[in-house]
Amino acid sequence: MRNFRRLLASTMLLSVIAAGAHAKTLVYCSEGSPEGFDPALYTSGTTFDAASKTVYNRLVEFKIGTTETQPGLAESFEVSEDGKEYTFKLRPGVKFHSTDFFTPSRDLNADDVIFSFERQLDAENPFNQYVEGASWEYFNGMSMPDLIESIEKVDDMTVKFKLTRAEAPFVANLAMDFASIVSKEYADKLAEAGNESDLNQKPIGTGPFQFVAYQPDAVIRYKANPDYWNGKEKIDDLVFAITTDASVRQQKLMAGECHVIPYPNPADVASLKEDESITVMEQEGLNVGYLAYNTKVAPFDDAKVRKALNMAINKEAILDAVFQGAAQIAKNPIPPTMWSYNESVEDDAYDPEAAKKALEEAGVSDLSMKVWAMPVQRPYNPNARRMAELIQEDFSKVGVDVEIVSYEWGEYLEKSKAEDRDGAVLLGWTGDNGDPDNFLAVLLGCDAVGGSNRAQWCNDEFNALITKAKVGTQEERAKLYEEAQVVFKREAPWATIAHSVVYMPMSDKVSGYKMDPLGGHWFTGVDISE
């Protein structure tokens, strides 16, 4: 008992001392719990915020606030003449985190890089199935297994990726969360002790923050990495206070219980802006919400009909009613924050009279069609039902009768892929890597018909442009994508509806926060005043 009292007294003393020191702590009220801390295993942004953007680095990094890439753990890289070989020179002297559960004995080297990818690529790798049901979804989703022929260690600090085909977006893929570099030394140590799953529970990386503790559904604690290769962060401690309800997050921000909150209710943004102690940042999201016609079914196989219908949609009204103003009208299939966005493309102006006439000219009368409304809220479409109703009303003004249909989300995604689908479908997309290929090829390429190309649209001219754009410098590629957007607008496989705006409310004590067009939340370079 006496010992216990002594322990009690000493811990009290310690905490008093700790409270006395001025550690800068930033509290971020995150919207959910991470699924785990190995970003390659998962696909959700919540997990990426908590794992890859704090604890880890990648060979190539996005310049925060843009969709451009910059050197990360690789100082530089070279591309071979044929575009099939990428050789990365690693940054010397990069330290993995030293924590109470792991002390690294060496700096980052080629083995770590190769291990980080091999475990996803090779079913025989001991860490391929280190947690039950590991399926490396993003790595597979970005077609990396088909793309990577081999990964070779040239020397301790040089790694060469050989690809099966030339593919310029590959570099942007390496900046994605699944490509985070983990420590092979740590993995080996865990395997030896039979604690493999700790790789997913107690992460060790090279990133700006090191992991301290996680209480599920409650709080994640990090501290600044004192040996960070890019210099120690300005804040000392970073805390994610998990707060799933948007109204509660807002109350916590106003009560000073957190400093930064994501995803406020759009309806509350106005009142947050009025609060003098709160700054609300905003940016267009890297997303697009659209209505995809089935271009394989008459009369929607006729571009004139699709164009006419596009003119009948009052997008301004949709912006007000569905997005409460928190969006901008989409004219291109890619968002304006993305490089190669074609500013000069002209949107189909809202003109019901002209639409009616154009339909008549195309020989269409008494048209009735289905419009599919998603059953869930997505950033690119907060209320698909309401949107469908507005479109129904708009179309009825030009003599087109609309029936609204909906299915459970999983079924909706599955059924809308069918090439003989009856009706136009409301859907959207949020970009993965900031590369235009990730929108244009995935959503509108010929290969994606019957899959993620919901318009079932295969246009030779468009497809040739986006295929050609897979190689070359960014400048060359941008030209081709700009042309492709012109073809898209002329052929109108979709009615492009909106790019939503993302809001980030934060305390006015916070400085240096940059909004990420890719939708992530970064605390690199952020400071907080007392």
Binding site: V131, E132, S135, D217, A218, I242, V248, A255, G410, T430
Partner: protein, 334 residues
């Protein structure tokens, strides 16, 4: 008494198997499967889909899947979450203490206020006091929990700033989990102010979660008391000249408590349902939120494992209620 206990336990086994079948079937009856949902807008190719199906054993006939599942459960293996890749039992055990702590506080509050309020309402039947208690109970019973919780947060945390908005303890305090019960852990940590912070975080969620059970218990106590008060033996006790306090406390209340104890036991199920919403509003890291998320993601293993574990808890509580019942009323033991 032993035979009574064994008989009650024997009844648990078929119930448990029944629940396991329902839990297994329920989540599979919902349209949509986890693989499609996980892939989202991106989608998966047909080959990849088949690969994943077989990796998770979803391609086998349901009966075979169920038999495997039951076999695993008998060995204490509740499966692995499809989403987080962590064992279901681990996740449950990490989160359950938070729900339990909140539920115990709520049921205590509901009982400690509900029974006296019900008794007083019954004794002063028809009075202004009676009518206002029952009116408030009716409002409490009909209140949508989500709205009620937000209302309290806006008033007490936002305007008055008396209580924290959400969470289990202030983020200033950081100590390892020992029991999982924040009230106990905060005391064990020895950090000054930790216990106070834990209590202040408990106040609003406890009130919100206790609201419905409190209303039910108060109403049930009142009607049970009214029934008992009109019994012959109460009249006899009164006419013998016993003090009213003794008549009500000793003779009437003891008998009126039997249906009330049953009601309290039944409230455990209600509490867990209420915990889902309460936990969501107050960012309380318990199993309620966990279950809801898993249903949306069609995380089969978590939904069926979670349902089974929760059902198991409720069955145990009901068993306990039956036993207490037996203690209060010896006639039931036979």
């Amino acid at each position: 008494m032993l035979r009574f206990i064994l008989h009650k336990i024997g009844l648990l086994i078929p119930t448990f198997i029944g629940v396991s079948i329902i839990a297994f079937a329920f989540i599979r009856l919902l349209p949509g499967d986890p693989i499609t949902l996980l892939a989202g807008e991106r989608g998966v190719s047909a080959e990849r889909y088949a690969e994943l199906q077989s990796a998770f054993g979803f391609d086998q006939p349901l009966v075979i899947q169920y038999i495997h599942y039951l076999g695993d459960i008998l060995q204490g293996d509740f499966g692995t979450s499809f989403v987080t890749k962590r064992p279901v039992l681990d996740e449950f055990l990490t989160l359950f203490p938070a729900t339990l702590e909140l539920s115990i506080c709520a049921i205590l509050l509901a009982t400690l206020i509900g029974i006296p309020a019900g008794v007083m309402a019954a004794v002063k039947r028809g009075s202004f006091f009676d009518q206002s208690i029952m009116g408030v109970a009716l409002i409490g019973y009909s209140m949508p929990i989500f709205w009620w919780g937000l209302l309290l947060i806006i008033l007490f945390s936002g305007v008055l700033q008396w209580t924290p908005v959400s969470g289990r303890i202030s983020l200033l305090f950081y100590f390892p989990q020992v029991t999982g019960f924040m009230l106990i852990d905060s005391l064990l940590s020895g950090q000054p102010g930790a216990f106070r912070s834990a209590v202040s975080h408990l106040i609003l969620p406890t009130i919100v979660l206790a609201t419905i059970p409190l209303a039910v218990i108060a109403r049930q106590t009142r009607s049970a008391m009214l029934e008992v008060l009109s019994e012959d033996y109460v009249r006899t006790a009164r006419s013998k000249g016993l003090a009213p306090r003794r008549v009500i406390g000793l003779h009437a209340l003891r008998n009126a408590l039997i249906p009330v104890v049953t009601t309290i036991g039944l409230q455990v199920g209600v509490l867990l349902a209420g915990a889902i919403l309460t936990e969501t509003i107050f960012s309380w890291p318990g199993i309620g939120k966990w279950m809801v998320d898993s249903v949306f993601k069609r995380d089969y293993a978590v939904v069926q494992g979670g349902l089974l574990l929760i059902a198991g808890m409720i069955m145990l509580v009901n068993l306990a209620v039956d036993l207490i019942y037996g203690l209060i009323n010896p006639r039931i033991r036979r």
